[in-house]
């Protein structure tokens, strides 16, 4: 009953966000929001640019790539020099080069995969530097999506917007205010926010002396969820009470990580002048998300096979790796929301989910992070799939396909094909490399099919910029640090750049008037077709790999490894 009410509240609050945040974001990117223009104007002067000076898609993408490279370098240098920088009450030393490269690539690609334990590796200075990327990378994702949207909205235009202006507006008007308010709620509920270092105390009742890690956690928590980042201050992420103390913060986390990706479908509909098209994309997201949630929530409500084998049976579901204050189904909801949005935060140990529960999390990522996906990346990846669906639909009825009045021709289909195929190819190739080398096989903690699942999960997560883990995998080795960083960088930019190019190419086209023979792209039929494309590219490509991992684990009744 509680879970049902949680879902009702979630749908209601996301509905409001969809309508109002979605509309607000459209206004922001159409330049109609000005309440912080006194901050904006001096910023543009410093940057030497202005909203009137728009860029071609090539210059836009160039600025985006160079800026991301600069962010990578900045973050890497801070981690390498950590021991010599201030705000380091625990006197932690410099971070090693392979780990620094992995962590920098991870935060610059919005992945937030963590091969380190936060509280024992990173100083406050480093954590704050990583948090900067938690603001910047969702903004980069959102502006890339806005370019694709403008591709559909504009006619015969050579410019797609100004990267620096879009980035600044997204940061100032969308991310900063929401994160700050949410941060206050997190603190009020019990999340920690201090610069005072660890605390040590003695309990006279049981004679225990404890040292606990603290830090500026609560406000990082807010942007970690809102920006679908997922990288927490503490090793155990949102499972720790200092990051996620109550049922309310747990719900707020799920809401925050879903709200922008969901609302962007409204922004899309409004900017292209057809809300129905936004609703169609939202419907695809809801169908995929609902299916995965049903599988994982049902699975986590069952007994853990290993615990049952030890003779403990009960009706409370799988408790291994879960926190009492959340419970099994709520932890499953958090897990599905986090893996279907490229967030990757965790309020439970996903490695200890039942085989089918873990299967749901994996599938959420393998869909290519479109249900609803990351901030911005969810929308542009789904639009890539939608272009492919339009192309297939056009082949079926034997006409040149159109999407929102734009003819979908060879160039567009090639770019969409590239964007859709990069992820499965990269993920499967790096997984194959990992399982066929000794360095890769040394990673997993668990034996048997679950060990393979740990490798597959880790590389799927990084290739989709999710960042959650089957935590048993030992990732802090030169092999996994380097292959993971490559996986993350390709999974981010080898999809984002074709998407921006798609936006640029579409913007140049004229709009053809609708006729009776036009293939409709805003009805149930098209929702079904696009869902089918996602399931076939995501689901079927990965089916053999899934069969060797969670599926065989589910089917091996009574066997333990």
């Amino acid at each position: 009953m509680g879970f049902f009410l949680t879902l009702v509240l979630l749908v209601a609050s996301l509905g409001l966000a969809w309508r109002y945040l979605g509309s607000y974001m459209a206004s922001v990117f159409e330049g109609r929001v000005h309440w912080l223009s006194w901050v904006e104007r001096p910023l543009y002067r410093l940057l030497g640019t202005s909203p009137e000076r728009e860029q071609s898609w090539k210059r836009y993408a160039g600025a985006l790539v160079v800026f991301s490279g600069m962010s990578l370098l900045f973050t890497y240098l801070v981690l390498r020099l950590q021991g010599h920088l201030p705000l380091n009450p625990q006197h932690l030393g410099d971070v090693g080069s392979a780990l620094s490269f992995n962590a920098a690539a991870s935060f610059v690609t919005n992945t937030n995969w963590q091969n380190y334990g936060g509280e024992t590796t990173m100083s406050y200075f480093s954590q704050i530097t990583l948090m900067v990327q938690q603001f910047v990378t969702p903004a980069v994702g959102i502006v890339a999506a806005v370019v694709v949207v403008r591709g559909f909205a504009r006619k015969k235009a050579s410019a797609v917007g100004n990267f620096w202006v879009d980035l600044t507006r997204c940061l100032l008007y969308v991310l900063l205010p929401i994160a700050f308010v949410a941060g206050i709620v997190f603190v009020g509920q019990g999340a920690v926010q201090t610069l005072a270092g660890t605390a040590t105390f003695h309990d006279a009742l049981n004679g225990v002396t404890q040292t606990i890690a603290r830090g500026p956690i609560a406000f990082m928590e807010a942007i970690k969820q809102l920006g679908t980042n997922g990288g927490g201050f503490l090793n155990a992420n949102s499972a720790t009470p200092f990051e996620n103390p109550t049922g309310l913060t747990n719900f707020l986390s799920v809401f925050l990580l879903l709200c922008i990706p969901v609302s962007l479908t409204y922004t899309f509909g409004k900017m292209v002048g057809s809300r129905r098209h936004g609703v169609a994309l939202l419907a695809v997201m809801v169908i995929l998300f609902g299916s995965v949630l049903a599988v994982t929530a049902t699975a986590e409500h069952q007994n853990n096979p290993a615990v049952a084998a030890a003779g403990v049976h009960a009706s409370v579901g799988n408790t291994e790796g879960k926190e009492v204050r959340f419970g099994d189904t709520t932890s499953a909801l958090f897990g599905v929301a986090s893996t279907s949005t490229s967030t990757g935060s965790a309020d439970a140990a996903y490695d200890s989910f039942t085989p089918m529960g873990g299967f749901g999390l994996l599938v959420g990522m393998m869909f290519g992070e479109v249900s609803p996906g990351g901030t911005g990346s969810g929308l542009y990846t789904l639009l890539i799939y939608a272009v492919i669906a339009v192309f297939i639909g056009g082949l079926m009825i034997g006409r040149t396909p159109e999407f929102l009045g734009k003819k979908i021709q060879a160039t567009e289909v090639k770019l969409a094909g590239l964007g859709a195929l990069v992820m499965p190819i990269v993920v499967l190739v790096v997984t194959a490399i990992a399982v066929s080398t000794a360095a890769g096989r040394a990673g997993p903690l668990n034996h048997g099919p679950h060990g393979f699942s740990e490798i597959l999960y880790g590389l799927t997560s990084q290739g989709n910029n999710n960042g959650s883990a089957f935590g048993g995998l030992t990732g802090n080795t030169p092999f996994y640090n380097v292959i993971g960083a490559i996986d993350m960088l390709l999974g981010r930019f080898a999809i984002m750049i074709p998407a921006i190019a798609l936006g640029g190419v579409l913007a140049r086209k004229d709009v053809v008037p609708q006729s009776l023979g036009t293939f409709r792209t805003d009805n149930t039929m098209f929702v079904g077709l696009t869902t089918g494309v996602v399931v076939i590219i995501g689901g079927l490509t990965f089916f053999p790999a899934l069969a060797l991992g969670p599926i065989v684990e589910q089917l091996s009744h009574g066997r333990f490894f």
């Binding site: 600069m70 900067v132 206050i184 603190v187 005072a196 200092f242 030890a310 140990a349 668990n446």
Partner: protein, 203 residues
């Protein structure tokens, strides 16, 4: 290219100042001003209400077996951890779960060892929470059912009647937040502090 580089550098510095330091410092200021107790870790006289501790013996209610100490299946494996959350589950990375999979032989063995541990304490039917570890490695809470199965053990050791202990548990139970968010839970530290007051009054 040169323009991109110059703008990127300027933007990276601005972001570091505004979205890094200004945001974190302003957030810390507001947090300390409005919610000083929470922002510093909810620390009372006996420790933090949000961080689980290791309770031993029959005269206290025990939390979940998140710590090493007497719970570890192999006591030699994880002894360095003790009750320090920076070394939860013996993992020298701070907080953390066991990450054992649902068909792991090690998890079966650990669970059996924990069942035996509870039997030695006189708890005949330990609940799943009491034989599995949490996600953080230091879950501060147990469910009402987890507390109730420990009542006979605590009643025998302290001489307080089972009925009074059950009333104590009921008074310490927090329902789901607003009636539906999350699950019912009991904070083990508060429960034992209340138990200590009861024992102080009784003797």
């Amino acid at each position: 290219m040169w323009t991109h580089l110059r703008r990127s550098f300027v933007m990276a510095v601005i972001c570091m100042l505004v979205f890094g330091f200004l945001y974190a410092f302003a957030g810390t200021g507001v947090a300390q001003l409005l919610f000083g107790y929470q922002a510093n870790g909810s620390i009372g006289p006996n420790g933090s209400a949000l961080i689980g501790q290791n309770w031993t013996g029959r005269s206290w209610f025990h939390g979940r077996p998140d710590d090493t100490g007497p719970y570890a299946a192999d006591p030699h494996k994880n002894v360095s951890g003790g009750d320090n959350p920076l070394v939860a589950n013996g993992v020298n990375g701070g907080s953390g779960a066991t990450n054992l999979g649902p068909r792991s032989k090690a998890l079966v063995a650990d669970t059996r060892a924990l069942v035996a541990y509870w039997h030695r304490l006189g708890v005949a039917h330990p609940t799943p929470d009491l034989v599995t570890t949490s996600g953080s490695g230091y879950d501060p809470d147990i469910s009402p059912a987890d507390a109730l199965v420990q009542v006979p053990m605590v009643a025998r050791a302290t001489g307080i009647s089972s009925a009074r202990l059950r009333r104590l548990i009921a008074s310490q139970t927090h329902g789901p937040q607003f009636g539906f968010l999350g699950s019912s839970y009991i904070d083990v530290l508060s429960l034992n502090e209340a138990l200590a007051r009861l024992r102080g009054a009784g003797s």
